[in-house]
């Protein structure tokens, strides 16, 4: 029994519900926000440490002492633990950022409880070893995201939310359907138990059929081609801290689930399933990056890039070699840091200039060089420029692609990298290099006056933290690499997971 496995779920639950109870005091909620996410971060780092140092590399807790496969188990393997750390990190960064940027109305109507509970859903999804429980977590985070998305009630938020809600519900229902069919076929819900039970099914093709349902359900969540519509339609509508949180975490849950399912459960016919993943990945990269090329609104550009980057994550899973898997996980990690930070910087730009439109902002390089440097660190990282974090991810994936002689995806991945750079440079050239356009100078000045240096400092704090991380993840990659390779090796050998969950080594 490893109680630390449950902490990433319990901590946000406690802080979230307390924040609801204290709904009248914004100050209390702010404190709970920072303390709660901070505690979550500490707990998740402890979890990762304990997982990594454990001889099996897998920790489990059978909730209610009902042993697997009968009760619900939470399982922390390296993949899950790494994802939890990233979620907690993002939560913490956004909680701090929110102190300076979130309006009191947003706080009054539940911003902080929603933040906590979104994190609990995300962490739960990363840790659970039970497919139905995964559905529940996905719903928790989804409904939390629904509520965050509409917080403010702007017209655009409503329009975006309708698409977001509808398409995500469709995906949840597909997931639920797939879970039901899985239970109907196997009589179990425990992932480790499913490994053996799937193998016993005579009609193996049927397992692949169900795999396809999961694939579609999670691909919608992950915003993969051609199922991503909800994302560009909605991500740019809420306040930017919320967009950053979404960008960092939500699609990653879908990607994580695909990694989990298509390494643990559905490896019967990789020639078929993973080939499909590869195609989806390629198209996702291209459509996403082209979408971004079209826009001149910072958040829209970034939103389409989320889609594009998801393609790389698919590529890692699809190639399915240890290096590719490690590269894919690394890509997720790096992307959480870089992409969220870009959203946060977009928010800073908004607070300094009063607009998200590139055509209406400018002059930031001259005035705020540090912001520029932090932007460059994140943007170039996203574009895969060495030695920043994105490069290492791209390097691992391309190398895996070259080694697998998958030339098509290698070419696409490289080309998309270049277009990503194009978009990032577009933001750079317009927002930082260009002079502030006269037509919008007045509003910009007005905005800049209203933002206090103290708030700006609070906003810079998480931005700087993440920018440094984007650099460190690249330059100081070796320890990260070791963890991720170990994670990838675990994924390539499901028996480790199965033994840890069902072996009863307690």
């Amino acid at each position: 029994m490893n109680p630390e496995v449950a902490l990433p779920v319990v901590i946000p639950f406690l802080f979230g519900s307390l924040s609801i109870v204290l709904y009248k005091s914004n100050a209390a909620q702010r404190w709970l926000g920072v303390i709660g996410t901070g505690a979550l971060l500490i707990a998740s780092i402890i979890l990762l440490h304990n997982t990594y140092t454990h001889p099996d590399g897998v920790l489990t807790i059978a909730l209610g002492e009902w042993e697997a496969p009968f009760g619900i188990v939470l399982v922390s393997d390296l993949l899950g633990a790494v994802m939890v750390v990233m979620a907690a990190l993002m939560g913490f960064a956004v909680a701090i950022y929110s102190l300076a940027t979130m309006g009191s109305e947003h706080e009054k109507f539940g911003y902080y409880p929603l933040l906590h509970l979104l994190l609990s859903g995300v962490c739960g999804a990363f840790l659970t070893g039970d497919i139905f429980n995964l559905y529940v977590w996905v719903e928790v985070l989804l409904v939390a995201s629904f509520a965050l998305l509409i917080l403010g009630g702007e017209r655009a938020q409503m329009e975006g939310a309708i698409k977001y809600v509808t398409l995500n519900l469709l995906s949840s229902i597909m997931l639920l359907t797939a879970v039901g069919l899985t239970y109907g076929m196997t009589g179990t819900l425990n992932m480790a138990d499913l490994v053996g039970r799937f193998a016993e099914i005579e009609n193996q093709g049927l397992v692949t059929v169900v795999a396809m349902l999961y694939l579609v359900a999670f691909s919608i969540k992950a915003a993969a081609f051609p199922l991503f519509f909800w994302l560009p339609a909605s991500y740019h509508t809420p306040p930017v801290a919320i967009s950053a949180l979404f960008a960092g975490l939500l699609t990653k849950v879908g990607v994580y689930a695909l990694y989990r399912f298509f390494s643990l459960l559905f490896t019967q016919d990789t020639g078929y399933t993973h080939e499909i993943l590869l195609w989806i990945g390629g198209f996702t990269m291209v459509t996403g990056v082209l979408g971004a090329a079209r826009y001149y609104e910072i958040r829209r550009i970034l939103s389409f890039h989320i889609v594009s980057q998801i393609g790389y994550m698919f590529m890692g899973l699809a190639l399915f070699t240890p290096l590719a898997l490690a590269g894919g996980i690394y890509f997720i990690v790096h992307n959480i840091v870089a992409k969220s930070n870009l959203f946060l910087i977009g928010g800073v730009i908004y607070f300094l200039r009063g607009s998200h439109e590139l055509k209406e902002v400018g002059g930031l390089w001259r005035e705020r060089p540090w912001l520029g440097i932090m932007f460059l660190a994140s943007a170039l990282s996203l574009a895969g420029i060495p030695p920043l974090s994105g490069f290492i991810g791209k390097y691992m994936l391309i190398r895996a692609g070259v080694e697998a002689e998958s030339w098509g995806i290698v070419a696409v991945a490289l080309g998309v990298g270049m277009l990503t750079l194009y978009s990032m440079v577009k933001i750079w050239a317009e927002a930082f290099w260009k002079e502030q356009p006269e037509a919008h100078a007045e509003r910009a000045a007005q905005f800049e006056r209203t933002i206090s240096e103290r708030s700006l400092a609070i906003m810079y704090l998480p931005v700087a933290l993440l920018a440094i991380l984007a650099v460190l993840l690249g330059v100081g990659m070796q320890p990260v690499y070791e963890v991720l390779m170990a994670a990838a090796e675990q994924m390539r050998d499901p028996q480790i997971y199965v033994d840890a969950v069902l072996g009863g080594d307690e």
């Binding site: 406690l14 519900s17 609801i20 109870v21 709904y23 807790i61 059978a62 909730l63 209610g64 002492e65």
Partner: protein, 142 residues
């Protein structure tokens, strides 16, 4: 005057409300052994309060409920989560159920348990949530 004002409904509601509430408590407490449980019980209570809302008005219903729905659902969530923690102090996993049989004079042997506490949390969440939604909608209408 309320467009929905119906003497018959109001009077019937005064009569039905206690019945529905006691029924909901009943369903809550026996749920572990017979069909029922915190969720269904909470829905029944919520239906009862909604009935009151329809017969009377939102502010009356708020007064009737004694606790604002939002903190109620917060407390419910908090209690339900907390009910998983005592097991930790006995060295067991989260949500390991603990049972305390208690003899209450006049009622007999009553078993208190963490699942029951959990179910009570569920009950509060369901009432709080449904009523938060319904009341907000009704107030927006008024």
């Amino acid at each position: 005057m309320n467009a929905m004002d119906s003497l018959i409904l109001r009077t019937a509601t005064r009569f039905l409300l206690p019945l529905l509430l006691i029924f909901s408590l009943f369903v809550l407490l026996r749920g572990h052994d017979e069909p029922g449980g915190g969720f269904i019980a909470g829905l029944i209570a919520a239906v009862a309060f909604s009935l009151y809302l329809f017969a009377f008005d939102a502010s009356g219903t708020r007064k009737l409920m004694w606790m604002d729905p939002r903190p109620m659902l917060g407390w419910g969530l908090f209690i339900a989560t907390l009910s998983g923690l005592p097991a930790l102090f006995q060295g067991k996993a989260f949500f390991a159920a603990l049972w305390w049989p208690v003899h209450v004079p006049g009622i007999g042997s009553v078993t208190l348990s963490t699942p029951l506490v959990f179910d009570i949390g569920v009950y509060m969440v369901v009432i709080g949530s449904v009523m938060a939604i319904v009341l907000a909608l009704a107030e927006a209408e008024e």
